[in-house]
Every structure is written in C-alpha cells, then in structure tokens.
C-alpha cells in the first residue's frame, strides 16, 4: 500500500452532524488507478465521506487532499475546476436532469465544458450510451426509464468528461442481475482502460470482492479495516470478519445509537 501513490489522502479528519460525531479523526489513503470499495453498515457515513471528498460539505477539522489539492480550503472556482478535471460522481438516485432527454443528459457536461462541434458531441454521447447498452434509449425522458436504466444513464453521464476519479454511491442497489453484471463489468473495464481511480460505496460484499483492489471498512466513526479483500476476510479483526461474512451478531453494531430498549418500553407514554 505504501508503495502506491494516493489520489485521495485524508488526514486527521473529523465531521459531525449536530452532536453526532460521524467521523472521528480518520486517516485514509485512496490509491491512484485502483478500485477502492468503501463498506460499512448503513448510516455510518459512506455517502457523507463521498460528499466530503467532493467538497460538497466541509469537515470540522483535518485535510482532504485530492490529487494534491486540499479540497476544504479551495475557493469556489478552484473547486469547480478540480471537479471538472478530476471527479465524476454517480449519485445513489441517479440524479438525472428530468427536463432533458437521455441524450441531452449525457451531452450536458460535454457541451458545457468543451467547445467540441455538435457532431463530435453526438459521437461521444453515443459511445458512452453504447457502453451502458442504452444507445437505443437516447430519445427517452428520465421519467420513462426504470431505476436500473436511469442508473446506467447516470453512469454514462458521470464518465462523459473522462474524469480521473469516479465516486460511485451504491451503484449496485436495486439492479436486476443482468444490469448488475453489466455495471460491475463496466466499472472494472472503465477503471482498467482509462486507469481511473474508482471509489465505490457498496453493501454488496460479493460484488465488492470481485472488482475491488482494496476494501475500506467504516464503523462507528472510524476506519476499522483497509486492505485487499482476501486479506480482510482471512486476517481481519473479529468485527471485520463479521461484516465481510454478513453475520448479524458481533462487535459491529446494527442499531442506531439509542438508550436501553427495555427501559424505553417501560417508560410508557408520557
């Protein structure tokens, strides 16, 4: 790991919402050109971590460097420049522009950020759509797509500008087996062909293990494991293995922090 250059480098970062500490002084390096899966129970802050890396929210303390730039201290224009050049993000919901057709959604970032003639834009968009198998759906509106199709269009859009890093927020949830297979292959091939850095938030241990070079496990405000999937499954601590093998009982809490259950029940109606 130390031999690899980090594309994202987080040091001493803490972040809280209200009085809930979501990240407590974490250090994390995401290596360049690799697929890193971020895993952990829901509500631990995986989406929050992606937003922090993308500069949409600011940490309380600490640095988050992307390609050498400390994101929280960038000016608005610098941040936009960095996102344009280096980051693509696939949102959990797809986040397609509902007033634009599939074609125009994918063309949107290309048209805004380049001076390519319309014929080139067309070729590029069709290439991206072909890659996700939706070239035939180019004239549909987002409302006419199924959830899985919308996700694939969003994927095509987030790679439209050939970013250096793509942040995927749960790209596999709610996909049928075929779309899932396509998406897994797509992420892997994008990563290999363009030597992208991919950061992948997922619950899906099996899929993560097939495509991730590294797995980062989050729990209770900290990184509890960062290694190759094989190493984590074999040599991880007890709580790491609990998560990787999907066992409900163990040191990783399944419950949102709360007071004692029996006490809560006995209190009755106030």
């Amino acid at each position: 790991m130390s031999s690899e250059e980090a594309f994202v480098s987080i040091r001493g970062m803490s972040f809280s919402r209200g009085n809930r500490l979501i990240f407590n002084n974490i250090d994390l390096d995401i290596p360049r050109g690799k697929v890193t899966a971020i895993m952990g129970p829901s509500g631990t802050g995986k989406t929050t971590l992606l937003r922090l890396i993308g500069g949409q929210i600011l940490p309380d303390v600490g640095t988050i460097e992307v390609d050498g730039h400390n994101v929280p201290t960038l000016k608005r224009t610098q941040l936009f420049e960095l996102r344009k050049k280096s980051m693509g993000m696939l949102f959990q919901s797809g986040a397609l522009f509902t007033d634009l057709s599939v074609f125009d959604n994918v063309a949107f970032p290309i048209r805004l950020h380049s001076d390519l003639p319309e014929s080139m834009v067309r070729d590029l968009v069709l290439m991206k759509l072909e890659a996700v198998g939706l070239r035939g759906a180019r004239d549909l509106m987002p409302a006419e797509l199924s959830g899985g199709m919308a996700r694939r269009v969003a994927l095509a859009r987030s790679v439209a500008l050939d970013p250096e890093m793509i942040l995927y927020d749960e790209p596999f949830t709610g996909l049928d087996p075929i779309s899932l297979g396509i998406t897994v292959k797509l992420i892997k091939s994008l990563n290999d062909a363009l030597s992208l850095t991919s950061v992948l938030v997922t619950h899906d241990v099996e899929e993560a293990c097939t495509i991730a070079d590294y797995v980062c496990l989050l729990s209770e405000g900290g990184v509890i494991g960062f290694d190759t999937p094989e190493n984590l499954i074999e040599n991880g601590s007890e709580q790491v293995r609990q998560f990787m093998q999907g066992k409900p009982d163990g040191p990783v809490p399944f419950h949102f922090p709360a007071n004692d259950f029996s006490e809560d029940l006995l209190k009755g109606v106030k």
Binding site: G54, Q56, R76, E81, R83, K84, M87, L96, F97, L161
Partner: protein, 267 residues
C-alpha cells in the same frame, strides 16, 4: 417574582433568536441574489435557456393574466360608472379605469397572480431538483447551479412581469370600455378621448412599469430562493411553496405602498 423575570428574559431571548434567524435568512437570500446576478446578463446560461424560461414563466401565465385583467376591468367599469354617474361625470369613466389599472391594479394584481401561478411553480421545481440531487449532480460536474438554474429564471421573471402587467392593464381598459360603452351607454368618444387626454406617458405608464420591474425581481427572487433553500423532502417543498406565495404577496403589497409614496413625492 423571579419566575416572572425568568419568563420575560426567556421570551426576550426567544425574540432575539428569532430576529437573528430572520436576519440571517435575509442575509443569505441577499448573497444568493447578488451571486446569481453577478453571473451577468440574461444570456449567461445561453439564450435558448432564457427563452425556455420566459416561455414557462411568462407565456404560460398569459391566459390567467388576460382573463383576470378582463374581469377586473369590467368590475372597475361597473363600480366606476355607479360612482361617477352620481356626479354626472360618466364621461370620465375611461380616465378612471385606465389610471387605476396603469398605476396600481395592473402591476399589483399581476404580481399577486404571478406569485401564485409562476412563483409557486418555480419554488416547487427547484425544490424537487434539490430533493432528487440534480443540483448536487450539477455541482459535482463543476457547473454552478446558480448560473445554470437561478440566473436565467431571475431574468425571465424580471423581463416577463412588466409585459404581463401592461397586457393586464390593456385588457382591463378594454373590459371597462366593454361594460361602460356597450352595457351602460357611456359615450364611446368620451371614454377613449378623456383617457387619451389624461394618461401621461411618464407619470402613469413608465411609473407603473417601474413598479412591475421591481415586483418581477422580488417575486422571482423569493420564489427561487425558497426553492433553493428548501428542506429537500415533500413536506419541506410544500412548506417552501406556501412560503413563496405568502411572502411574495406581502412583499408586493408592502413595496407597492413604498414605491407609490416615493413616486408621488410624499416621502
């Protein structure tokens, strides 16, 4: 006794907190307006986009504006005739109807209808964009949503409002004429002649237009800001939409008083 003082202190604190909150919101809204307008001209997101917004904000408000203008004009004709005929001056009906509409009712009623028709739609549209992460997605592409989404809508509102208000007044004057001349028997020449003689281009038409420009900016500003600042849930959006109509209507009525006072030179 101490309890009472505590209570009073508590309410003073709550009042202070609430005012600070309001002031903060106002400051945020002000920064929001400035940074959206700083992106410059109406064409900052491409003229195609501006035309699209003018269509959905302005053109699609046309029908409600025209129908409302006609009714308001007819009512003015009826009421005006009843009052004026007591003094034997029905001939001044044209003057009364046109001045009322151009100076006050045109800009004000148009702005109120606009807040209900276009303002609420703007808030809901932008709120939904936020809830479905479209705004975040745009930001992550390195595209400024203020420039792409807010600026063209602000300009579209600013451009549409005076045109709509002028149309409202025109149709209203025509409605007043219809009732006065065709139904109540006011002399046609007197209606139009007196109107022409008394309506001043600068004092009546231009001042009315200035009001509309101000209302256009304020109503659209409130609408887009409420959408952008809404809590991205269905409840949050419905609250923001209501808020738009309430705040924008009150702002229009309050500003109308201030603008009228300034224009009449009495402040």
């Amino acid at each position: 006794m101490l309890k009472l003082i505590d209570k009073i202190l508590d309410s003073i604190q709550a009042l202070g907190n609430a005012s600070l909150g309001r002031l903060q919101a106002l400051g945020r809204a002000g920064v929001f307006l400035l940074s959206s307008l700083m992106w410059g001209g109406p064409g900052s997101a491409g003229f195609g986009d501006l035309v699209k917004q003018i269509y959905s904000i302005g053109v699609r408000s046309l029908s409600i504006i025209i129908v409302a203008g006609f009714f308001v004009g007819m009512v003015l004709g009826l009421q005006g005739y009843t009052i004026l005929s007591d003094f034997g001056s029905e001939a001044a009906l044209g003057t009364m109807v046109s001045l009322t509409l151009l100076r006050e009712l045109g800009p004000v009623v148009t702005a109120l209808l606009f807040a209900g028709r276009a303002g609420s739609a703007l808030t809901a549209e932008i709120g939904l964009m936020k809830a479905t992460e479209q705004i975040s997605a745009m930001e992550m592409m390195g595209v400024d949503p203020l420039k792409r989404i807010i600026t063209p809508r602000l300009w579209a509102g600013f451009i549409s409002m005076p045109i709509l208000a002028l149309l409202f007044s025109l149709v209203g004057i025509w409605g007043g004429a219809y009732v006065g001349i065709n139904m109540l028997g006011v002399d046609e020449g007197a209606y139009w002649g007196n109107m022409q003689a008394s309506v001043e281009f600068y004092d009546d038409i231009i001042k009315g237009l200035i009001k509309s420009l101000v209302f256009g900016l304020v109503v659209t500003w409130i609408a887009v800001y409420q959408g952008f600042d809404s809590i991205p849930t269905s409840e949050g959006i419905s609250k923001a939409t209501t808020q738009t109509v309430v705040v924008a209507s009150l702002a229009v009525l309050g500003l109308d008083f201030v603008l009228t006072a300034i224009m009449l030179g009495s402040i």
